[in-house]
Symmetry: C2
C-alpha cells in the first residue's frame, strides 16, 4: 500500500539505580544500539556521558504523556528509541503509560527490566528485604491519600517489611509524619529502619535508626525508607530480616 517505511522500535528501559555497574547487560546493550534516548532530565543526565553519540530527548516531571508521544513519533519516523526510567521502568515508572500511548500504533514496545531502588538500597545495609514485603509510594499526586493510608495500615498489620518510595518532597512533608503514626499502631517503636539516600549514585549514604526516631534524620525525595518486620534486627551495623534459618541450627 504505502511505500516502504521502516518503523522504529520502542524500548522502555529500567537503568537501575543510575550507575553503569548496576544496570543490566541487556539494558546497557539496548542503550548502546538505539538511535535516541528519552526520559526525565535527571535520568538522561545519568547516561549522557556513557552514550554520548545518541540523540537525547529530555523533559521535566509531570510531562509523562508528552514524553511518550514524542517517543512514539520518533519511532514512527523510523528511529529505535529507548525511554528510560531509574530503577525498574515497571515500578512507578514509564512502562505502563508507554504501552498505553503506543497502543494500536503498530510500533513494537519492549520492556527491559531493571533493579528497583529498594533492592539496590537494601544491599548497602545488609539484607532487610529477605521476607514478605510491601512497596508503597507516599506520593498522593496520582493516588488518593486515603488509599495510601489504608495500605499503610494493612501492610503494618500484616507485619510486612515496608519500603516507602517518594517519602517526602520539598512541598509534601506531612505524609511521612502520618505514615509513622499509622505504623506505630502495629509495629514496635524499636522496629529497625534504614534511610537510604542517593542509592547507587556518587553521594550515596545511609542511616540506620528505628521507627521511634527516624524523623529526626534527613529525608527527602532522594531517600528510600525501609521499615523492618517484627523479626528484623540491627547488629554490627547490618540490618537483617531473617528467613528463619536459625531454627535449623539447633
Amino acid at each position: 500500500m504505502s511505500s516502504e517505511n521502516k518503523k522504529g522500535k520502542i524500548y522502555v528501559v529500567g537503568i537501575g539505580p543510575g550507575n553503569m555497574e548496576d544496570i543490566s547487560v541487556r539494558a546497557y546493550k539496548v542503550l548502546k544500539n538505539v538511535d535516541a534516548i528519552a526520559g526525565y532530565t535527571t535520568y538522561v543526565d545519568l547516561v549522557k556521558d556513557e552514550f554520548a553519540n545518541k540523540e537525547f530527548y529530555s523533559s521535566g516531571m509531570k510531562r509523562e504523556i508528552d514524553r511518550c508521544e514524542e517517543v512514539l513519533a520518533q519511532a514512527k519516523a523510523g528511529k529505535n528509541i529507548a525511554l528510560i526510567s531509574s530503577g525498574d521502568s515497571g515500578i512507578y515508572g514509564m512502562a505502563g503509560i508507554m504501552i498505553e500511548v503506543a497502543e494500536n500504533s503498530g510500533i513494537e514496545v519492549e520492556i527491559v527490566p531493571g533493579i528497583t531502588s529498594t533492592i539496590a538500597g537494601a544491599t548497602l545495609v545488609g539484607a532487610p528485604l529477605m521476607h514478605d514485603q510491601a512497596i508503597i509510594s507516599l506520593s498522593d499526586l496520582l493516588t488518593d491519600w486515603e488509599v495510601i493510608k489504608k495500605r499503610l495500615h494493612c501492610a503494618s498489620d500484616g507485619d510486612f517489611v515496608i519500603s516507602l518510595y517518594n517519602p517526602k518532597s520539598k512541598t509534601r512533608v506531612e505524609q511521612i509524619v502520618e505514615a509513622r503514626e499509622i505504623m506505630l499502631k502495629y509495629k514496635r517503636p524499636s522496629t529497625p529502619i534504614a534511610l537510604l539516600r542517593h542509592i547507587g549514585r556518587e553521594n550515596e549514604n545511609y542511616t540506620l535508626t528505628n521507627l521511634d526516631e527516624f524523623l529526626n534524620y534527613e529525608i527527602d525525595m532522594f531517600t528510600m525508607v525501609i521499615i523492618g518486620n517484627s523479626n528484623t534486627y540491627i547488629k554490627n551495623g547490618k540490618m537483617i530480616t531473617p528467613r528463619g534459618y536459625k531454627l535449623w541450627y539447633g
Copy 2:
C-alpha cells in the same frame, strides 16, 4: 602475630532470572573475577558454561547453612568466592544467612543486587507492577502458615498488586487454593492474573487469566503468580496496572 595470610572476599550475588542478559554488569564482572562460585545446584548450572574456568561448589536445597559455611571456609583459605542466588540475593535468597554466618570472621561480605523474578516476569506481560505492591511467599517451610494467611488477608484488603513466590510444589499444593479463597474475599473474581513460568529461561511462557479461573492452569515451583489490584486490566494481550495518568489526558 600470624604470618601473612591473604584473606578472600565473599560476594553474595543475585544473578537475575538466570540468563546472561538480565544479569547486572557488576554481577557479571564479579563472576568473571572470582576464583570460585557456590550455590544451589540449579543456579550453578545456569552460569557454568559462561564462567567455565572457575571452581564450583554446588549443593542441594535445604543445605543453606552448610553452603554458607563452605563459602566462609574457602574465603578464609584466601579465595574470592561468589555465592549466587537467582533473582536478587536479598529477597528470599542467601544474603541474610551469609552475613550471619560470616559475622565476626573478619571476612568482608559484599551484596550484589539482582533483578528479582517478579520484576523480570512482569515485563513479559506489560506493566502489572506499576503501583503499590506486596510480595508474599507461600512456602510454609520456614514461616507459619497462619502468618502467611494473615498477610494474604492484609495485602488483599489493602488492594495491593500481589506477587506470589513459591506458589506450589510437588508436595505443597493446598496453599494456593486457600490463597485464592482469601483473595476472593476482597478482590473481584475478574481480577487479572499473570502466571509466569521459567522467567528468563529458554522455555519461558505465560498465561493471562483471572482470580476466578487461574487454578485451571499449570502452576508449579517455577511459576510466579501476579494478581492485579482493582484498577488492573488486560487489553490487547497486555496486563497493565495504571498509575492514574489517564486523569491528565482530559
